[in-house]
């Protein structure tokens, strides 16, 4: 009876722990990533020291130590990459409202990579030669590039979705202001000036929309283009330009609304 109770308690603790881990927010996931990456950096130093010792002495002992050290290094690379992929997933989950389920593809792809990394850990433990370690590291690099691509793609998607949401809201407010101006006495000088200002702001809105369309087209190239770092930077540059226009438009609309008080 006691054993059954104990087993149930252990199951409950593990189950609750797993559920809580799944519901980890992006801040917690990022802390987890930092922790894993610091461990990796520490082990990289150990690896470099042992590599230089091996190259100097070429002994069996130093070779064995280097092999063990390189395996540990790859294991922490896997942990850091898993933590990074999990962090990207948590950010995507938090941005679901603005992304409108466009992130599903990235989510599935990241899950695939996490599953590969999990299975790769056992493989690393069985590595018994430098050649095998080199091959494993090279294989891991190709997965790192895929995960990085998904990371940059997620970053661009979240930023673009946020900017598109702002643009949609600005358009709604502009329409409201135009309706308000239609209801006012059109002979009034202030109303005339406000109408002119609105048409100027509408031009800015169209330009901001063009910038976001360009960014959206660039986002589609993520699957084709290998140079995803540059692609992500280009999308951010376009979004920054659109954001400048947004600030200008909102300031102009605030001025119009103030004049109508």
């Amino acid at each position: 009876m006691k054993k059954v109770l104990l087993a149930m308690m252990v199951f409950l603790v593990l189950f609750v722990g797993r559920v809580m881990a799944q519901e980890q927010g992006s801040d917690e996931s990022y802390q987890d990533l930092l922790k894993n990456y610091r461990t990796y950096q520490a082990l990289l130093e150990v690896f470099n020291t042992q590599k230089s010792q091996y190259l100097t002495y070429q002994t069996v002992e130093s070779q064995a130590e280097l092999l063990s050290s390189s395996k540990n290094l790859i294991l922490t690379q896997i942990d850091s990459l898993t933590a990074y992929a999990t962090f990207v997933k948590s950010l995507l989950a938090e941005a679901t409202k603005v992304l409108n389920y466009k992130e599903n593809y990235l989510y599935v792809m990241l899950d695939e990579q996490i599953a590969y990394l999990e299975s790769g850990k056992n493989k690393v433990l069985d590595l018994s030669s430098f050649t095998a370690v080199n091959e494993e590291a090279s294989d891991l690099q190709s997965h790192y590039q895929k995960i990085s691509n998904f990371g940059y793609q997620s970053k661009a998607s979240i930023e673009l979705a946020g900017a598109s949401k702002i643009l949609a809201n600005i358009k709604i407010e502009t329409d409201k202001i135009k309706n308000l101006l239609e209801q006012r006495n059109s002979d009034e000088a202030r109303v005339l000036a406000a109408k002119e200002k609105v048409s100027g702001l509408e031009k800015e809105i169209r330009e901001a929309e063009d910038l976001l369309n360009q960014a959206s087209n660039n986002l589609k190239n993520f699957t084709k283009d290998q140079n995803y770092v540059n692609l992500s930077q280009e999308i951010r540059r376009l979004i920054d330009q659109a954001v400048e226009k947004f600030s200008l438009i909102v300031a102009g609309e605030k001025d119009i609304v103030f004049s109508l008080k």
């Binding site: 990022y30 990533l33 990456y37 990796y40 990289l44 690896f47 590599k51 280097l66 390189s70 290094l73 690379q77 850091s80 990459l81 990074y84 962090f87 990207v88 950010l91 430098f130 050649t131 370690v133 080199n134 590291a137 090279s138 891991l140 690099q141 790192y144 995960i147 990085s148 990371g151 940059y152 997620s154 970053k155 979240i158 930023e159 946020g162 900017a163 949401k165 702002i166 809201n169 600005i170 709604i172 407010e173 409201k176 202001i177 308000l180 951010r236 979004i239 954001v243 947004f246 600030s247 909102v250 609309e253 605030k254 609304v257 109508l260 008080k261």
Partner: protein, 89 residues
């Protein structure tokens, strides 16, 4: 010991006599001066600004908050770098 007991008794007698004297005093209540109405004009419960204008102003402030958030680039999504070329021979 006797001195302490005597001092305690004396203290008790003094407290009792003080309380008794206070309770027998006649309490006088002075009427409070009448408060004058404030000279400041109180705001009307109905605002003079059209509700649509207030709504637009509020919406624009919310949009400004969103713009502020977007201005700060989330660099945390930039993947960390690793050494993959271990070059073991």
């Amino acid at each position: 010991m006797i001195f302490l007991a005597a001092a305690f008794l004396l203290g008790m007698i003094l407290i009792f006599s003080f309380v008794k004297r206070r309770s027998s005093e006649v309490a006088i209540f002075l009427p409070l001066p009448k408060s004058e109405p404030s000279r400041l004009a109180l705001p009307s419960p109905t605002s003079t600004i059209a509700p649509e204008i207030l709504q637009i102003e509020n919406d624009l402030s919310l949009i400004e908050n969103d713009i502020g958030k977007l201005k700060k680039e989330d660099r945390r999504l930039v993947p960390p770098s690793f050494v993959f070329d271990l070059n073991l021979q």
